[in-house]
């Protein structure tokens, strides 16, 4: 008997014709009925989700004024900054001679490479200057 009633309600439900009260009947049925026909199982999931979603509330930590949160964040950030600068200073002074040597070596390598790059660049510039010269002579010829 109940099965027939629910079947009719579901049909109305899919047509968008059930009232809120009828939808409550459906929700309660699907919540407590254990032996659901296989083709009705999805309704249980949907109604369960709707009930679950209705309980979601605004995160309470966010209710504080955002301005206050911002000041706190700024304070925290500045403290972190100062601490990290201090710490990096300590680590800097603690570098071993070996590390310093290594750093110097890497720096030298970097320097030579940059020199190479700039040499190549200059060569490029010379070529372009030559092009200028060509242009000039061709202009002369045209005249």
């Amino acid at each position: 008997m109940e099965f027939k009633k629910i079947e009719a309600l579901l049909e109305k439900y899919l047509e968008g014709e059930t009232s809120l009260e009828e939808e409550v009947v459906l929700k309660t049925y699907f919540k407590k009925e254990q032996n659901l026909p296989k083709e009705w199982i999805q309704y249980r999931q949907f109604f369960a989700y709707y009930e679950f979603a209705k309980n979601e509330s605004f995160p309470s930590t966010k209710i504080k004024s955002t301005a206050r949160i911002k000041t706190w964040m700024m304070t925290a950030a500045s403290i972190a900054l100062v601490v990290s600068i201090q710490l990096s200073g300590i680590f800097e002074s603690q570098k071993s001679p070996l590390e310093l040597q290594e750093a110097e070596f890497v720096f030298q390598q970097f320097q030579t490479q940059m020199k190479n790059v700039s040499n190549h660049l200059n060569r490029g510039v010379q070529k372009v200057a030559y092009l200028d010269y060509l242009d000039e002579t061709s202009q002369k010829l045209l005249k």
């Binding site: 968008g16 809120l20 999805q42 999931q45 949907f46 369960a48 209705k54 966010k62």
Partner: protein, 172 residues
């Protein structure tokens, strides 16, 4: 500075805040954006004259309409920036949806399916199935005829059911 504390409004605001949060989250599909949108709407309600506030037939319906308009404006400006909404909000594409579903329980599937609907359909599902508003309330919030809301709702219910069955039959 004089603050007139309106007790009834204070009581209403908590409930309204949660509702607005759920609705904005459904439209914007992003927790963070929904939090911002909710704050924005609540601030606007606070700044309103008490006399104006009390003049509304339902402050709740008014706030929900305001939240809806705010969200739609947000979405529009996102589109104007030429960003794909899906990328912007991390709405799962079909591929990643399949992957996500494998690891989640069935309750979450339903949520994912709903969040993939177009925004108008998401709103209708939220207002009817979750917030349980009457058709005439939904119609006035969305500025649509009641009949259209019913037609939409029927279409969405059928569509969701079909999609859910498809997912199940893929044997995940």
């Amino acid at each position: 500075m004089q603050l007139t504390v309106d007790k009834t409004f204070l009581n209403q605001i908590d409930e309204i805040r949660d509702k607005i949060f759920r609705i904005t989250k459904r439209i914007l599909v992003s927790q963070e954006e929904a939090e911002d949108a909710t704050q924005e709407v609540i601030v606007k309600l606070w700044q309103m004259d008490a006399s104006k506030r009390n003049g509304f037939k339902s402050i709740e319906a008014y706030s929900v309409t305001m939240a809806k308009n705010y969200c739609l404006d947000r979405l529009k400006s996102k589109q104007a920036q030429n960003l794909s909404l899906d990328e912007r909000f991390g709405v799962p594409t079909t591929d990643s949806l399949q992957k996500k579903i494998e690891h989640k329980d069935e309750l979450t599937w339903v949520g994912l399916l709903i969040d993939r609907l177009p925004e108008k359909e998401r709103m209708i599902i939220q207002l009817r199935e979750i917030e349980q508003y009457d058709f005439d309330q939904i119609a006035s919030i969305l500025n649509l005829p009641e009949g259209t809301v019913r037609v939409y709702l029927s279409r969405i219910r059928k569509k969701l059911r079909k999609q859910f069955i498809e997912i199940q039959s893929h044997g995940i």
